[in-house]
């Protein structure tokens, strides 16, 4: 989230699209309700009429996988009616930049941007024209036909109400009502916000869905202001923190890049990832990249080696190769992975195409699963229909402590880091995850110290000072405060900066003071300022709101440097420094300082500094050449679609996705059924209030199992009639990859879509279920057996093994199925 939960109350118009916040983030509705009480509008755009829709002023249905068409139509509406926030667009975005005249767009290039070879774009033409001094050539009037603004206009001119409605199935009057209502927030002083979640991301065009909405927010001047922003509602308590701390293949903590094989030295690595700019008024914050790298390497390997040596210890990935989730399970399926940690995860239910995932686990030599409860991953070898005597995988199921049985911090969706305390001991022999990690590390290190092995120093020289070692040199009881301090970072030598002396061993007060010479450490530069000599900032509990707009700046701590609204420099007029919205100002110039939120890189009013400081040119990208699949979002059909052809162009699907279903690259389980009469119904997945993700934690809880005991499928009355299905009957749902039995909920909350004159049905299934807590599975003596059973398995049995072109997040929100009455 660029903004935060309480800030939703400041919004004049809340668009909830790609999220069912009322069900999945119920407390967010405290603030959505407040916004509505203050006269704000709520718009719900969703294939299903959800609990969110039930409270909306406007509900607009759309066929799953057509968000870009829907939003593209909104961009066109805003431009056609000149509803943009002109000053914002001119000063804070790259709308004025002139693009390479050789650049071609889908409307003139068979549905493709210029430069495609195979499934990769050569982005040479996706570039800006430059002046002699190296700065970008601009047209402040935004009239040049090659300027971003005009290209945007040209690109989305194709997204007429008529065309959009044919693609999305949304009635034209609903489209117009949504566009008109939301575009109202383009007026200076008005704020509109987007709340989205996996309904945007789980598509082959997921990143571009978000881009499309971000472009709208920029055109309307809605980023950086109170009640605005681009707000991803994160679905897990610490998925923000676990991402910040880089439990992902492509990054190191603080969004530093994972080094590639061609970057042989630290200097080469830093050069590759430290951006430069010729733009005079840009802060270009990432110019500090080498400081963060050096400080991270110190946190990894301490002072016992040089920075270059420490860099050498890091593994290197091959450039251009993807090592993400789908790749892991594809490799595993093909027998290329030997050992596997599924730590606090239930991949057998959460990953796409569960049959492939579950079969892949059987090709491992060994697997470690750390969890609170027995689950479909740890016990995959004894799933119904599986013969354990044929599965070689050695499995360890380790019991861990729950959130109230250990101490530490988590970071919520709005980057707010909050401290949790231990209330009780974990049950039996269960241990905090951190202690399991520490003990495992110590044992492996000892093995390498004793026996040696390839590149053993990377392990043995790692710094690991998180508590008192026992007689064997193993740290069993972790001091999590030591880790929190290491993440923040220390001065490793005495340093004097701006006439202030910082003694060796003191905590660095802010990342602005981190150094590139190895004299500071910081495990994650974004968290530098979270645990300082003033104490543990995440544990702060002063709930007074001195801002008047709900920032609650003294409660806990948010990255970066306790800023609550990102890009808040864009909330003020560039010339006068006056807030666009004087009633809800985020920052105010008091004559000598900015007061309010922690200002985001802005200099005194009128200074000309650009507010999007993480971009080299300081401007938000309406034209975004960094993505794999195009600088502007373009509608492509989902990988599996009910249509024979894409209504808006000859290009059917996102051309830049990695395919697994073709000869030579995939396997039989990666099959695809598109425009296939055997699978004519669009299917989407969703979550329930009462269960969390795969249900691993919640299905074992009687109260929650009582409220949602069984997997179901929502079906329109029209489809139910065609299929002869009554409400409450069992239905078998099939995709080309798997099948699932579910109870039918026949509901008018699903309506048939009229797509290009043809009726298209859509159904939806919650994916919170799994076989491990069902009544009919085998329970051996000593097995944990739930007090209340749940029925049914994971909806991911049906989902396709295909990912977004940029992130490789699977397309779990739009795929094709068929349904029959069970046994029919």
């Amino acid at each position: 989230m660029t903004n935060h939960w309480n800030d939703l109350a400041n919004s004049d118009c809340i668009l909830i699209m790609g999220s069912n916040a009322a069900s999945n983030h119920p407390i967010s509705f405290k603030y959505v309700t407040m916004a509505r009480e203050r006269g704000g509008k709520l718009i719900s755009v969703d294939p299903r009429f959800t609990q969110t829709s039930s409270k909306a002023d406007i509900y607009a249905p759309l066929r799953s996988g057509t968000d870009i068409a829907f939003l593209g139509g909104m961009i066109k509406y805003i431009l056609d009616h000149n509803l943009i926030h002109t000053s914002y667009v001119q000063n804070y975005t790259n709308a004025t930049y002139l693009v390479n005249p050789a650049f071609r767009m889908p409307g003139e290039n068979n549905g493709l941007f210029s430069g495609l070879t195979g499934n990769k774009y050569d982005k040479a033409t996706w570039s800006f024209q430059t002046e002699a001094d190296g700065t970008a050539r601009k047209d402040l009037s935004m009239k040049d036909p090659n300027c971003v603004y005009q290209l945007l206009k040209k690109h989305y001119a194709r997204y007429t109400l008529e065309t959009v409605s044919r693609i999305t199935g949304t009635p034209k009057d609903k489209l117009e009502e949504v566009y008109r209502t939301y575009a109202e927030t383009g007026k200076p002083g008005k704020a509109g916000t987007i709340m989205y979640a996996m309904g945007y991301t789980q598509h082959t065009v997921g990143t571009q869905n978000i881009r499309a909405m971000s472009i709208i927010q920029l055109l309307l001047g809605n980023i950086g202001v109170a009640g605005g922003g681009v707000n991803a509602l994160r679905g897990e308590a610490n998925v923000q923190g676990s991402t910040d701390h880089a439990l992902l293949f492509h990054i190191l903590p603080g969004y530093l890049k994972m080094p590639t094989a061609s970057q042989e030295t630290l200097a080469a690595y830093n050069t590759a990832f430290t951006p430069t700019t010729k733009e005079p008024d840009s802060l270009n914050w990432w110019k500090n990249y080498p400081k963060y790298t050096a400080s991270l390497l110190r946190a990894y390997y301490g002072m016992g080696c040089t920075l270059d040596e420490a860099y050498g210890y890091l593994p290197k990935i091959d450039g251009g190769v993807n090592y993400s989730w789908l790749t892991i399970f594809d490799k595993m399926y093909k027998g290329k992975i030997e050992g596997f940690f599924a730590w606090g995860q239930n991949a057998a239910c959460s990953g796409a195409s569960s049959n492939k995932t579950r079969n892949a686990l059987g090709n491992l030599e060994w697997m470690v699963n750390v969890n609170l409860f027995d689950n479909e991953t740890g016990s995959f070898w004894r799933a119904p229909g599986t013969d354990p005597s044929k599965i070689k995988t050695e499995v360890f199921l380790l019991p861990c402590a729950s959130s109230i049985e250990k101490e530490g911090s988590i970071t919520n969706s709005s980057r707010l880091m909050q401290w949790r305390y231990k209330a009780v001991d974990p049950p039996g022999e269960a241990k905090p995850d951190g202690e399991i990690i520490s003990e495992l590390y110590c044992r492996i290190r000892k093995l390498y110290e004793k026996e040696g092995g390839p590149f053993a120093e990377a392990i043995t020289r790692l710094s690991w000072n998180y508590g008192m070692p026992d007689g064997n040199g193993c740290i069993r009881k972790l001091d999590v405060h030591r880790i929190a301090r290491e993440i923040n970072g220390y001065f490793l030598e005495d340093r004097t900066i701006d006439n202030v002396t910082y003694k060796k061993g003191t905590l660095v007060p802010s990342f602005a003071l981190l150094q590139d010479d190895g004299s500071t450490s910081s495990g994650n530069w974004l968290y530098c300022n979270s645990y300082t000599e003033k104490g543990n900032m995440a544990a702060r509990r002063n709930n007074h709101d001195r801002s008047g707009i709900g920032l609650h700046s003294d409660w806990a701590w948010s990255w970066p440097v306790n800023r609550r609204i990102l890009y808040n420099g864009a909330s003020v007029d560039p010339k006068t420094g006056r807030p666009w919205d004087t009633k809800r100002p985020v920052i105010v110039w008091d004559g000598s300082n900015w007061v309010g939120d922690v200002p985001d890189g802005v200099a005194p009013p009128g200074n000309g500094r650009k507010p999007f400081i993480m971009k080299p040119n300081g401007l938000a990208s309406i034209f975004g050449p960094g993505l794999a699949d195009g600088p502007f979002p373009e509608h492509y059909e989902p990988f599996e679609s009910p249509l024979q052809k894409n209504i808006i162009s000859p290009q059917m699907i996102n051309p830049a996705i990695k395919r697994w279903d073709r000869e030579g690259t995939g396997t039989a389980v990666d099959s695809r059924a598109t425009a296939d009469n055997n699978f004519p119904i669009v299917c989407t997945t969703f979550r329930l209030t009462e269960h969390w993700q795969t249900g691993l934690m919640t299905r074992w809880q009687p109260w929650l199992a009582e409220m949602q005991p069984e997997v179901f499928i929502e079906i329109s009355p029209e489809l139910a009639k065609i299929k002869g299905i009554q409400n409450g009957e069992m239905v078998t749902v099939k995709s080309i990859r798997g099948s699932l039995d579910a109870v039918a909920i026949v509901t008018r909350r699903f309506r048939p879509f009229s797509i290009d004159g043809k009726i298209v049905h859509e159904v939806g299934i919650p994916w919170n279920f799994g076989w491990a807590t069902t009544k009919l599975r085998q329970y051996a003596q000593g097995d944990k057996k739930p007090d209340l059973f749940t029925t049914g398995d994971s909806a991911n049995l049906l989902t396709p093994f295909i990912g977004d072109a940029n992130t490789m997040i699977p397309e779990s929100k739009a795929f094709m199925v068929n349904i029959t009455k069970k046994g029919a």
Partner: protein, 263 residues
């Protein structure tokens, strides 16, 4: 002490069921095995172990439209509380907050309250031979806390406070909704201690009586016979006998109040 009442504003309810769960949590009520019957609503109805329930109703609206209605069902804490009137042991009683509480120790399982309640709230448990229902979290009220369901509600759809304050807030809200809200509970059984602002007409909500009243037999019982029963030793038996004469034998099923189908 001013009477305390609860307000359920359906126009703010998202059907998240925080209230339903908070009730179970605070009152240590166990869960029972359920199944999906083609609805989100579960358990199907109130029971000795479910004292608050969100009911889900779907209503057609227009060509392509639908309305999804949520209703917090729990004891209405009537001013003119039929259950209290018929309770021969004093197990059901009016508290100083104007709420209807239940002292399980005194309940003899006669089930009179079950048939007397116009809302179908009290629930008889054959295994303990006692009746159970929402007591508005009496122990919390006694300690200055709001009921658990009200505290848990994310959106402020549930509110609790002094009758005057809640009543005027409710009227204000209904006026503000300008035809989009219906006040329910102020016009019968002497006024209910839980007031509804409904999003649609009461007739569109399942299992909600549109004109609830205290049964005549109960009025006779309460006003004429029960005072005797509580005063005179042995009166309970005598009164029960008289009650039998008036009403005849009645078998109360545990779940006898399915007047309408649930969504």
């Amino acid at each position: 002490m001013a009477r305390k009442i609860k307000l359920f504003d359906a126009t703010k309810c998202t059907g998240c069921r925080a209230c339903q769960l908070a009730c179970k949590q605070w009152n240590n009520l166990p869960a029972k095995q359920t199944e999906n019957r083609g609805s989100y609503q579960n358990p199907e109805k109130l029971s000795p172990t479910t004292w608050a329930l969100i009911r889900f109703d779907e209503v057609d609206s227009g060509v392509n439209g639908v309305k999804w209605l949520f209703r917090h069902e729990a004891c209405m804490h009537c001013t003119d509380a039929a259950c209290v009137k018929v309770c021969s042991t004093g197990a059901l009683y009016k508290t100083e907050y104007g709420t209807v509480a239940l002292d399980s120790g005194k309940c003899n399982g006669c089930k009179e309250c079950v048939s007397a309640c116009p809302f179908g709230i009290p629930q008889y448990d054959p295994s303990t031979q006692k009746v159970y229902k929402c007591d508005m979290c009496l122990s919390r009220l006694d300690n200055g806390l709001e009921p658990a369901c009200v505290k848990a509600c994310p959106t402020g759809a549930l509110r609790f406070g002094d009758e005057d304050e809640i009543m005027s807030a409710a009227r204000e809200r209904v006026a503000e909704l300008d035809g989009g809200g219906y006040l329910y509970g102020d016009k019968f059984v002497g006024g209910t201690g839980m007031l509804y602002i409904l999003q649609e007409k009461p007739t569109l909500y399942s299992h909600l009586p549109t004109a609830p009243s205290v049964p005549t037999s109960v009025i006779v019982w309460k006003d004429w016979l029960k005072p005797l029963s509580l005063i005179a030793p042995g009166g309970v038996l005598a009164a029960a006998f008289l009650h039998y004469l008036i009403k005849g034998p009645k078998v109360v099923e545990e779940s006898s109040l399915d007047k309408k189908g649930d969504a």
